[in-house]
Symmetry: D2
Subunit: 364 residues, 4 copies
């Protein structure tokens, strides 16, 4: 258990590095009878892949997934599903800089401290390239959730730098709204300015942070476990397991610090014409109470730091501990947010798929 598996019942295990032969995921626990082919995976993989637009890294990876097992005659069999994505654009280059220097903000120093060595080619296992197979597994989870419960998981960019999108009703955002522009922000006016900002930042050999908002609709009330495996706990772990995430908040989030209980509590309302079951008048709780889904949309936000790799020289140390400077010449995203959206969606779908199976394990 060196941390390459995730989930209890819908469980994935991954391997692979940035510049090795490829990345692979084994998904264990998928119910039999789910229609599945590689075509179900390519959509989200294309949303995640490098080189997809002018505001992402220019590394080119087709990210073609090969399903190695667990599917027969177009449907899942119930046995483990392996998916392989081979690396292609492992550009031959000089790794001397990152071999002998610690890149600020990266895992170079911490990998050396942990293992006494590291695969320095493109960051090795610490590269975000490992998220490709998470996204593939997430596509399987999304499909299962949609077919079994009509659940949809949609994310979008809420903030880049100081630019904050207006999103009056997060639960109303559809995939088409998100994909309407390359920055994946459903507020078109702000999206244009975000794109402009990202291009400016790139031209200044810098990077910029942001916030993604993610929403799951259709989750039945009752999912999640009451103590350690609260839905908010498992979701929190899932999102913090993604690179560059420094904050996660649900519903009203950090704003609750300044609220009184009388302001923060969401009143329960009886079933009515619009909602067939008891629901809340507002959703400051973010869709979970006591860590268990309430039937309201699950809403959360992730703070994503600016890309650490910078083409401008800045101070650091060599692996021998001597002061030096580094400028990471390479192919990097000036802003991680547009490609973060499908990664965040995948992690949420994986957690929900897991709790879907956990719920029926105990409750039948």
């Amino acid at each position: 258990m060196a941390g390459n598996s995730f989930g209890q019942l819908f469980r994935l295990t991954t391997a692979g590095e940035s510049h090795g032969p490829g990345n692979v995921v084994i998904i264990d626990g998928v119910p039999p009878g789910l229609a599945l082919s590689e075509q179900d995976l390519v959509g989200d993989l294309a949303r995640r892949r490098p080189g997809q637009s002018k505001i992402t890294t220019q590394r080119q990876e087709a990210d073609h997934p090969e399903i190695l097992s667990g599917v027969f005659e177009g449907e899942t069999t119930g046995t483990s599903i392996a998916i392989l994505i081979r690396n292609q654009d492992q550009r031959s280059r000089d790794y001397t800089e990152i071999k002998d220097k610690y890149r600020p903000g990266h895992a170079d120093l911490t990998f050396d401290a942990k293992y006494g060595r590291r695969d320095y080619r493109g960051g090795g296992r610490s590269s975000a390239r490992e998220t490709s197979v998470r996204v593939a597994a997430g596509a399987v989870a999304k499909k299962m959730l949609r077919e079994l419960h009509g659940i949809e998981v949609v994310g979008y960019v809420r903030q880049v730098g100081d630019l904050v999108a207006e999103v009056p009703d997060p639960a109303a955002i559809k995939l088409a709204n998100v994909e309407a522009n390359i920055v994946r922000c459903p507020d078109g006016a702000i999206a244009d300015r975000m794109i402009e900002l990202i291009e400016t930042v790139r031209s200044e050999r810098d990077s910029i942070g942001g916030v993604a908002e993610l929403v799951a609709t259709g989750v039945p009330a009752g999912w999640g476990e009451p103590v350690f495996d609260k839905l908010k706990a498992d979701l929190g772990k899932a999102l913090f397991s993604l690179p560059a995430v420094l904050g996660v908040e649900y519903g009203a989030g950090f704003r609750v610090a300044a609220l009184r209980g009388s302001q923060n509590n969401d009143a329960f309302l009886p079933a009515d014409d619009r909602t067939a079951h008891v629901h809340t008048a507002s959703n400051r709780h973010g869709g979970m109470l006591g860590g268990i889904s309430s039937g309201m949309p699950i809403i959360l936000r992730c703070a994503v730091k600016p890309t650490s790799s910078l083409p401008q020289p800045h101070p650091t140390v060599t692996t021998a501990g001597e002061a030096t400077t580094i400028a990471t010449i390479g192919r990097h995203d000036p802003c991680l947010l547009p490609r973060f959206v499908p990664m965040g969606e995948a992690m949420i779908a994986l957690v929900l798929a897991d709790h879907c199976l956990r719920q029926r394990a105990q409750m039948g």
Copy 2:
């Protein structure tokens, strides 16, 4: 795996309800030879227990722990350690209100949705009473971390309502600074105003939220796993598993959204007179890079919502789905933050203890 266990190698499993016979924890994986007695547990239990001051709930619980196993002649044996805390002040009362109505902000509705039933006495398993044994287990983890690595975990209240403490150097705060006042805020001037605010809120039959900041010092570089079990992921899960937490952030946290890479990166510096190893000039990364500890202090903040139980009437529904009102007459904390501090520390210590053992499992 219905979510009553936490950790991989330093692993606790808990049981118990608010108004049942008591709460129990079994801790598995503690190394042999650690001096341990019930005296090691009572300190943090006293910091967590209800009735400890005028600004907490007035339920009285001595929270006396009984070690049932795993300790012989004053030292741990390496076998599982069970700790039992019996409930005492199970005040005989009328539960009709919470039996037949869903308390806003609580897990009443979600438990019923999940299990089709619930132990409604004081919230049953959803009560924060279950955290008593987490704090007991956390005290064992703290002791192990201190003895093996000199690690200290200290938390304090950073914000209550709009009152925000000044804490120039979070890593310099000691337990004595925290315990200097009943609100557990090391900024004495703000602490007085926080206490005043909490008393005001209580007198207005309301409650108030806040932010706790938690710091771990002495953690060696190299702890945490590179993909799913990043230290920030496991810590995030740990803290979100506590009741009422709606947000978690590390280091610069949500502020990174508006920062550029050149502003956010923490430059590495060579070892110097003050620090014997490579370190960073600043700590916006919060002590972890790539999810692995960097050797810098681990710093995080939790947003804690205002207590949901309010003595003032507010709208809700009955378990039959009819509109009604509820006013929770009982013993409740007007602000959860002072008692949250030892809970948060315990969860951090448990995660670090787990990764301490995981590190030596793989790296020897």
Copy 3:
């Protein structure tokens, strides 16, 4: 994960020593709505407890279980169930012998090698006393299996020394047949001779081994996982986790070595008047094919070694490694088999309960 938990979804975690305050088990994953009280546990505990007859150890333990959590108004709530059994007859005695000498056949040397220490009082954690809470948890599993699927798990003594019982139809043996005599052998004629043999062996300050046979009827076809968690693998682990078990075999067992495929294969037969589904003409496969239940009775046998503690002097070494002799004066079973039966049944029930939940997790 120092090995004090068992099962994936129906999961127990235990703690306790022979001469400490008591033993405790936490059971996680039990579905809500199962009627449960301490009365459901006392039957099997009485079958396991020491001092139950003239052919068992004379240590007296009432083994009264206290349910600490997870049951409300007479039914399980779905949250974790803790059961505490306090030790009573911790006879004040001189432990010098086993403190300073390694008892042959016991875990004294291996505990010291593992932990560098041990709780030598009555064997500490290595004592079979820890099985008391396994039997309590097994009683919960049995009840769940009976109510959900009509499954029964019955064990009995098949062999003691050279005495082998005739059991024409293992699946026809009922609890009443087993409990008809104190040695728990359904073949009455052999049972009398077994009792006589055990008394002879005791009078000669010796002990004797044997074989228990265990049968589960009513298990639906389809339980068990196809690769590592085959039902036969999980049952094998369960039974080998009990003290003194040196062999486990299913169906034809070791006899298959000398069989040809044409002799060993169990032919499938269509559903008929007696059996509503496809079944096999014979049951050499022991109820599992490919590690998955076939719908036929699950039949297995365990070889249990003679008690290692002997009142006659025999050679060993001191903890300092010097040659010496030891004679364990104390209260020991001259034959472990009669008390082994409920332990074996419990472990089988726990495995089946786990796979019951696993099956519905994936297959709904």
Copy 4:
């Protein structure tokens, strides 16, 4: 957790079917710095592969392993290691027989009962083809155990039909003795007769069972956990997880049933010229006491049933439940034992590697 993972700290997860694209394993937890290449895997894979001799199945598979991750510059990095073995000889054939009929002794019926479907091509996931990647992972485990502790795991065929080998000192058997003949029996005289018997059985369109004996030498005293994860329990699970195993026994095994304690106990002896630590005069306990390694060789035996696929017609039912006959025309091993040996060794090595890491996790 649908049973496609094995181990706690040295943990493998597998996927793949008999006639799909291939089989893959991800190994998690391997320490960094172990020299590893595909050359380390091919030896045991060749011992396991079909078509290796005249007494095995004639399916031809080169079983070339591709290491996809976790190795850099010839050494393990500490991150997860993925190994892919593509299928080659997926002979185009008519699967009608096994598609529409249940093969006796196989998992066809139980897979259908479990999943409501199955990949019938060559048995799909239930085929022993999945053991190829277990053997590859086992080779990694063997290498780690050898380098860290000098441990060797060697297995051989002890019995085929009524032919039982003489093996005076199991712990003295080396790999070269085993590989001296194609049946993998170190008793050369009996080996010749075994080969003859297997050829006779094949010519009679039948199959034959047997017993493998497996020995691990060099295991330090103190490995294994005291309660559920006894070394004998985890080894038992490992071996029963292999296809066709119907019995497992340690040391004296089922013979203990007829022994008295005074006959069965292995006396402890002081360290002497030949053995530097306390050891036992005999090894009826099979190298584990209380489930923890004693420092003596670990010795166990597995009963392996005769191959269920038979080229002679025998009665069965169709998937619709009608009586019919089946004769499995195909490529099958007339005796599973020669190819079982490396599988059994692999599983033992995997368990020992896991407990090696578990021991240092808790004990440092």
